[in-house]
Symmetry: C2
Subunit: 339 residues, 2 copies
């Protein structure tokens, strides 16, 4: 069984995205947003069958842990109410995808974060998504300001209500920023990767998992720059008088395989323990083209993982075992299905 | 001959750093700064002989391209006048190191950048350092705000007066941020690496080298996250309708070897053309400890490079040839010495 831990609904029906534009325009002109449009099951089916489902089958994977489009979360747009309504709409749409393709998709929610506001609404929406919609995880944006980084580090008590809910509900978070509202940071080429690196270093500086030993965080895009600079991070842990990274962080932190070339995947598996790596592709996502050097999609990360010299147990861990463990609600659902 | 392209004077005499504290205190209280202290040649000699020179010899390298301590540039502190006086003091001290150890050190200057000000003073100080002090390069801070990223991208015309001076003077810049004034970004663990990644992506999005075909930029710390995500950047260039990276950027962009473990160095040399890699260690710098797994300093990057299977021509390129080419003033000085 092959589970892709990192997929976004980047191909949502146009009416959904148009409503977002209308919602933001209404906010700007201080009017009430229009009613959310009616979107048929067939539209949703088509948007999935022609894209994620087709590519999953072509590439030989089975399931995707599926969340709203990350770049469209845009927590910096509008205000807390706007973010709340948008998160609800996005999560409800994910729930419909899961209902239409229950064998293939498991839901992960977008939170209604908004800069300089409490996490109360986000905790409420997380509960709704897990308890009512059956979601198995969440995307947590460490920078809802969209590149201005006005929130405190992830180790700050500001975030603790979210962590308490996550531990209670047994759901992990993928630490994932959204689009950038500054020209300095290209979204998928700089802001995403920087956020991954930043989050890891924040965790390294702090002692978050002493307070939350059962908290699990996934750092996407292969951990940003971290595996490439693993020696730097081991050395910084030493300089900061922290325990070795394996003890300090790697009981709680996981990296996906969204690294779009063979040498990068080789490095990831060379330096990071296989218990901490989960298969992911972010398909259909940041990089959609075909690599002229290989003739294959850049983001067909399964090819790179398949090319590693893994034994059967290791392959099972990366492709499904770690995901079942890190997402316990997913693991139990698969157990119940006898999978 | 082995030239370390990335060294900072992190061990400057205490009086130098104390003056900086006094300068900032004077700025805060709106008083004139004290006179810069007298520092003897012996103090400078000792600070170098016990540190950089000792380690260079122990590790078997010959020369260092040497600049003021990067984290202490702190362009976000004080105002433009404060930055100007501080840059002068730091650069004059580097010039004294070079005068005392002319066979070992070549100078690279700190610029008097200051947020939201023009680059006029920086261009003036660059000219002084190159024309009067004999320096061979500069450190250019893409974020003088210290983590708030208030400057425009490196491809913006704001930076063009600096690039014009660099081309005229035949000096390359290392793109190097300073300390971070936000708790979100640890300086050496997040801000440095993020800035490297960010700078590369800014260059990728733009067409700077069409305007400045002779401009040369060094992205330190092994290029941040870029080599690890080389497939992502190749894919993004394709999506943004840019030429392949080799054509688009790699005639003008260089990475150093400040990557503190063997797998990272292996990856760097696996994906980046050897013409674009310059030996560097950032010693004595960000990570000063000894790796318990190897018994060697994390930042003894020469060991990692030596462990690669390079032929003599490739070794010469990485250890000196590329530096002589990228820093033409260094190359000519070595030629004149018959080296």
């Amino acid at each position: 069984m092959i589970i892709d831990c990192h997929g976004h609904y980047t191909t949502a029906p146009a009416a959904h995205n148009e409503w977002r534009d209308q919602q933001l325009a209404a906010f700007e002109s201080r009017q009430a947003p229009p009613t959310y449009p009616s979107i048929s099951d067939d539209e949703i089916r088509e948007s999935i069958e022609l894209n994620q489902l087709r590519l999953l089958r072509e590439r030989g994977a089975d399931m995707t842990i599926f969340s709203p489009r990350a770049s469209a979360m845009a927590h910096h747009e509008g205000d807390a109410g706007v973010s709340d309504a948008w998160a609800h709409a996005c999560n409800d749409l994910i729930a419909r995808v899961v209902d239409l393709f229950p064998e293939t998709f498991f839901g992960v929610c977008q939170l209604p974060q908004s800069p300089d506001t409490s996490l109360d609404a986000s905790v409420r929406e997380l509960r709704r998504c897990v308890e009512e919609l059956g979601f198995v995880g969440l995307n947590l944006n460490p920078d809802p300001s969209g590149g201005h980084w006005t929130s405190p580090p992830l180790t700050d008590r500001y975030w603790y209500p979210m962590y308490e809910a996550m531990v209670e509900l047994e759901v992990p978070a993928m630490v994932h920023v959204s689009s950038s509202c500054t020209p300095v940071f290209h979204a998928t080429g700089a802001h995403y990767i920087n956020a991954d690196t930043t989050a890891f270093m924040q965790l390294l500086e702090g002692d978050l998992f002493a307070d939350f030993p059962d908290l699990r965080l996934i750092i996407p895009h292969g951990g940003g720059a971290v595996p490439y600079h693993w020696g730097r991070y081991r050395g910084l842990a030493d300089m900061l008088k922290k325990p070795p990274l394996e003890e300090h962080l790697m009981g709680n932190v996981y990296f996906d395989t969204c690294v779009y070339h063979q040498p990068g995947i080789n490095l990831l598996f060379d330096v990071i323990d296989i218990d901490n790596i989960m298969f992911g592709s972010e398909m259909v996502g940041a990089v959609r083209g075909i690599d002229p050097r290989t003739g294959q999609y850049f983001d067909d990360t399964k090819r790179y993982v398949d090319a590693l010299n893994l034994n059967d147990a290791q392959r099972t861990q990366v492709y499904s075992g770690n995901a079942r463990r890190v997402f316990p609600r997913l693991g139990r659902a698969l157990d119940q299905r006898g999978l």
